[in-house]
Amino acid sequence: MADLLTHLLVPYIFCTVASWRVDWLDQRWVVVGMGGAAIPDLMKIKIVLEERTVESILGFPFSYDPLSTLGGVLLLAGIIAVAFERRHWRPVFGLVTFGGLTSLLLDGMRVYADGRASAWLYPFTSWRPPTPSLYVSSDPTVLVVALLAAGTVAVLDRRVRAHS
């Protein structure tokens, strides 16, 4: 998967541009959308707590992979939404899900040697969508493009806010 910084910048770009037209979508909500983009990266927990360690504690098979799928994003978006006040649940759930989806789509465009992305639509289907194989996860070009786009949007956003 792309690095976490790139994941966070993508929904920042989309949500900030959307905020120019949507009145309630101010910066605090943009940040919530960015948070959703971190959900698929949670599977990196395996670096500190390996799956086999969890399996040996639980006594049955266990995999972190669903955290980086549509099902994992929807459930974690629900858990995150409930951490907010009741009146915020709907926008939080929507924005966090959107952020998570941008990460899944971005990861679905990276290089897979067999030309098929992981089954990120799990558990709804086990189909592995074709990937355009645009980048590998350690390619700094991806981050540079994201930083340039986010920087441009940040400058434009400041101007838009100054005029409104």
Binding site: D3, L4, L5, T6, H7, L8, Q27, R28, V31, V32, M34, G35, A38, D41, K44, E50, E51, R52, E55, L58, F60, P61, F62, S63, Y64, D65, P66, L67, T69, G71, G72, L75, L76, G78, I79, V82, A83, F84, E85, R86, H88, V111, Y112, A113, D114, S118, A119, Y122, P123, S126, R128, S133, V136, S137, S138, P140, L143
Partner: protein
């Protein structure tokens, strides 16, 4: 909303997520079609002749071959990859798509370099750490924990 209602909702969602994490492991073969290191370690010959994708760390390279270490679930297997056209330093990580042959060998059809060296991995984790720290600072600039209701509330109300 009462705290116990919120806790109940979170518990139900966490249990469902937990179920998903177990279900994915149990049904792995349906949505992850290739054998992993554990499968290859225990039943290599049964997969010979099949096409597969493996992720591995390069341990040795030569002009047209390399040796990679494939790990999963605590199991590890060393595979020789033939027919490569891409130079990778030892320590780099590659994806290999090809046909599994006898004697722990893959005839590669496509090799993709995931991390060209150990430094590429450091870069990835470094950028991720910067992202995580920056996000937390930004988030708590706009949101705070309300200690009366134990919910997240906007700082400006």
């Amino acid at each position: 909303m009462r705290v116990w209602v919120r806790v109940s909702i979170v518990l139900v969602l966490c249990l469902t997520l937990g179920g998903l994490l177990v279900h994915a492991a149990v049904t792995e073969e349906q949505w992850s079609p290739y054998p992993d290191a554990a499968d290859l370690s225990t039943g290599y010959e049964s997969y010979a002749g099949q096409q597969l994708v493996v992720f591995g760390t390069v341990t040795e390279t030569s002009d047209s071959e390399m040796e990679i270490n494939v790990e999963s679930d605590g199991a590890a297997i060393t595979l020789r990859v033939t027919g490569i056209k891409t130079a990778v330093e030892p320590g780099g990580v590659v994806q290999v798509y090809g046909t599994l042959e006898p004697n722990q060998t893959i005839a590669a059809e496509r090799v993709e370099v995931v991390n060209s060296s150990r430094w590429a991995e450091f870069y990835k984790y470094g950028a991720s750490a910067v992202g995580a720290l920056g996000f937390l600072l930004l988030f708590f600039r706009y949101w705070r924990i309300d200690r009366e209701t134990w919910t997240l509330e906007a700082r400006d109300g």
